[in-house]
Amino acid sequence: MRTLLSISLMVGATIAAVGAWQGRADAQPAAPSAEPAAAPAVATEPGAAAEPAAVEPPPTGAPPTTPPAETTSATPLGLKHTCMAAINADQAWTDELLAFAQTKLRYDAHNDEAKLIALNKRHVILAYAVIWLLSVGFLIAMWRRQQALRGQLESLRRELDAAIKGSST
């Protein structure tokens, strides 16, 4: 029974650990996604920008506009708006960037994903850890059972000795 309890406990602990690990893995930033064109899309879809834009970029193909003074500063937001304005001003450049995103970046993302799947060591390590944990748990349970048996034998021997001594007197 100790064996069974030990195994059940270890299976439970393993499932909990896997669950926690999986949850952590899910919470981590994902590997390169299958939609790598998201960043350049800012240039063509200004409304889809991740953060609220302080300045509405001009529509694609519109003549270059001068960004407001606060966005021309060397802050990340200012630089971003400067870049967006420059990209939107040049339709050929926009097309070139989009083509790059849809070919090279997508290819790289695919490659990264494939590498993650091909060299999936964490599941292999987890599987082998489970095998050894359960086996060692079983061995420990068996050893403890043997120790308990040894104790029972000792107690039986003492009781027998006492009983024999009592009957002889």
């Binding site: 029974m1 069974l4 195994i7 999936n120 599941h123 292999v124 034998l153």
Partner: protein
């Protein structure tokens, strides 16, 4: 407890340990990466031998249980109990490693396909056997023996379930093995077989010693020694 001093169990344990160490080298160094399942295929080298040992322990338990039912011999009962506990261990390993491999290969921890379902049912039957032996009290041997025979019938269903077009990968993985891969797999099967034998013999000895201790105490009580 005389049998506990037998050198067979330690010898089998040493052979199994050496074999398993060799297979670890074979799995992670000698074998190439599988073309379809990539690195996660390396789980297979230990998953399949443990599945074989699960089947073997269930068979041993079933056959010993038939001995219990026919001859009412307590030695058969010791073997059946030892094999049942081992089947619970191997079942837990097979289900856990299979689930991890399924996550790596299919993207799911579990899918409701015939082989997985029947393996789970088999494991639950063997857990039921051990619980019955623990909690049902004296006379539960024969009831548990019937359950073990029922579990033994489940083994061919699991084995042939893979040939009926289910989604389990083993049907294709075994065929795709090359020379080193086959050697590593069968070396692993052999090593786990020796480990199974060592554990089974040791557990049988402990079960026999527990039974003898219990019987001695009962005889001493009947003789009025512990009044």
């Amino acid at each position: 407890m005389k049998q506990t001093n037998s050198p067979i169990v330690p010898a089998l344990g040493v052979v199994a340990t050496l074999g398993i160490l060799a297979t670890v080298w074979g799995v992670f160094v000698a074998t190439p990466m599988d073309r379809n399942l990539f690195y996660s295929q390396k789980i297979f080298y230990y998953h399949l031998p443990n599945a074989f040992m699960l089947f073997l322990s269930v068979f041993v338990c079933g056959i010993a249980s038939i001995g219990v039912l026919k001859r009412r011999d307590s030695k058969w009962d010791d073997v059946a109990l030892a094999a049942a506990e081992l089947s619970v261990l191997y079942g837990a390993i097979v289900l856990a490693t299979g689930s991890i491999w399924a996550r790596a290969a299919w993207g799911h921890w579990w899918i409701w396909e015939p082989r997985l379902m029947s393996s789970l049912v088999l494991w639950l039957i063997m857990v039921g056997y051990v619980l019955l032996r623990r909690f049902a009290g004296p006379g539960s041997e024969r009831l548990a023996a019937g359950l073990a025979v029922f579990g033994m019938v489940d083994v061919p269903l699991i084995y042939y379930g893979v040939k009926q077009g289910d989604a389990h990968p083993q049907a294709t993985v075994v065929q795709a093995l090359t020379g080193t891969m086959k050697l590593t797999l069968w070396g692993s099967v052999l090593s786990f077989f020796f480990l199974f034998l060592a554990l089974l013999l040791h557990r049988v000895q402990v079960a026999a010693a527990e039974r003898e201790t219990r019987e001695l105490r009962e005889r001493a009580l009947d003789a009025g020694l512990f009044a």
